[in-house]
């Protein structure tokens, strides 16, 4: 389950020689986060999660992926808080918590 990861190493081109030819640049080079309008944050309860991956399949932003610990985790830099994962989870393992509390 590859997914784009925010790159803090991006250096903007300093002069014309550093620009690409045309509008082509290596993919997955995310330099900005995009989640500021999220009002509710999905939280996965690892004990309830059966790793059926329906949330991974249905997430419109592709921000749910396997963690190194073996469970699923959410990339909150890009999650918009739509709540589809919470609604579709058959184990009721995802809850939506209000942001800023």
């Amino acid at each position: 389950m590859n997914h784009p990861i925010r790159q803090n190493s991006f250096k903007p081109p300093k002069d014309l020689a550093e620009y690409p030819v045309g509008t082509a640049f290596p993919s997955g080079h995310l330099v900005e986060t995009n989640a500021s309008w999220r009002s509710h944050r999905p939280i996965i309860d690892a004990l309830r999660c059966s790793k059926c991956l329906i949330c991974w399949l249905l997430c419109p932003d592709g921000v749910i992926h396997s963690s190194k610990q073996g469970g699923l985790e959410i990339d909150y830099d890009y999650c918009k808080g739509c709540g589809i994962c919470a609604r579709e989870c058959r184990q009721k393992a995802v809850t939506m918590e209000k942001e800023g509390l």
Binding site: P12, P13, L16, Y19, P20, V21, G22, T23, A24, F25, P26, S27, G28, H29
Partner: protein, 386 residues
């Protein structure tokens, strides 16, 4: 060199050249007087003498969009259009040049409505000079053929990577039959190796294509486009020199001159009308008149230094063109004048002749009349319709 000669119309010569250039994808929508180009290509694909994807599209906008998409996976592409169809592509012309996709297009120069008219003038392509495409203007079927072969070498050159439009005067070139030399496939293959680019979608090296660039970065992309177009000046010379080695025919770069060295009165024009001008020049020369002729072959990149050199020392310059920018003057005249303003000695008289609009005939007698007007010292109208 295995060469064949064939009796072909300008459009058929273009189709024959496209086949020899081995494009992967052809997408086009028919419009008079371009139609027979894409009819011939469709037949070639059908009979499998050309192994290309031929895309049937619903509009010119889609035709060029399809070529851009194909170019974005590294394919060699071809499209053709004319007049209203070319203008319908206008949005995509900028996408192709901004994305640096070296699409090659043939345009059959034709009048723009209204009044509706299918005959030749150059208002279609000249109104799109600023869209970032290299623009060449052919004089006959052989040059049309040769320009198509050269276009891929120029447009796909790594220093250029800019789309190229080959313009043929509607009917006068597109539908006139001439004897055309056709080189052998293996010679064209040696002259024109397969298209290579890093500016493409690639599973092994995934790229984001066609991205946004905000105010901090956008202008730099445009500056690079301009530099690439200027780099084409050198590349055109190199490609023409190599073309001569391979196929024997010599082309003179961005413009062609005739008797300009000692000429007092020089006519500047472009496209097929050159064929009418040449014998008039020879006739007037035989009468002892010091007349000369410049045929612009490329409008972009513009032959800036070449125009200054060709017109230096003349008493009067006339620009004859099949277009007008309403409310001012002909676009070619504007471009020629701008180049001349950067020289210390501007020719004393500059006259603009507009003719051939909507296919109106330009006869040898009209050319002689133009030279008479150039001799006149009256101020006259800034633009004269012939």
């Amino acid at each position: 060199m295995l060469e064949q000669k064939a009796f072909l119309s300008g459009n058929e010569a273009v189709a024959a050249a496209v086949r020899l250039a081995r494009p992967h994808v052809i997408a086009a929508y028919p419009i008079t007087p371009q139609t027979t180009v894409i009819e011939r290509l469709a037949e070639m694909v059908e009979e499998q003498s050309l192994k290309a994807e031929y895309l049937h599209v619903e509009s010119e906008h889609s035709a060029l969009s399809a070529c851009i998409g194909a170019s974005a996976v590294g394919a060699r592409t071809f499209t053709a259009s004319s007049s209203q169809g070319l203008l319908y592509m206008a949005e995509c012309l900028h996408y192709a040049s901004g994305g640096r996709f070296p699409v090659v297009m043939m345009n059959a120069n034709r009048s723009l409505a209204l009044p509706w008219n299918i005959y030749g003038d150059q208002r279609d392509s000249l109104s799109l000079l600023d869209c970032g495409w290299i623009q060449a203007y052919a004089e006959d079927a052989q040059e049309s053929f040769d320009l198509i072969i050269q276009a891929y070498a120029i447009a796909e050159h790594p220093d250029v990577l800019t789309p190229m439009m080959i313009n043929l005067d509607g009917f006068v070139i597109t539908h006139t039959y001439e004897l055309v030399s056709l080189p052998a496939q293996q010679d064209v293959d040696a002259f024109l190796p397969p298209f290579q680019t890093t500016n493409k979608m690639d599973l092994d090296h995934p790229m984001s294509l066609g991205f946004t660039a905000g105010p901090a970065f956008n202008q730099s992309f445009k500056q690079l486009q301009h530099l690439a177009m200027m780099a084409a000046v050198t590349v055109i010379d190199e490609v023409e020199a190599r073309f001569r080695q391979f196929f024997g025919r010599h082309y003179p770069g961005l413009l062609e001159t005739m008797h300009c060295n000692d000429a007092e009165f020089i006519l500047v024009t472009l496209g097929s009308v050159a064929g009418t001008v040449r014998p008039v020049i020879e006739k007037l020369r035989s009468l002892g008149e010091r007349v000369g002729f410049v045929r612009i072959r490329y409008m972009r990149p513009f032959p800036d230094a070449e125009i200054r050199k060709a017109l230096a020392g003349s008493k009067a310059v006339g620009v004859l063109e099949k277009d007008i920018s309403f409310g001012f003057e002909g676009t070619v005249f504007t471009n020629v004048n701008s180049a001349l303003m950067r020289t210390k000695v501007v020719p004393p008289r500059l006259r603009n002749f507009i003719g051939g609009l909507g296919g109106k005939d330009i006869a040898a007698a009209d050319i002689e009349q133009i030279f008479e007007r150039m001799k006149s010292t009256d101020d006259g109208e800034s633009v004269e319709f012939i």
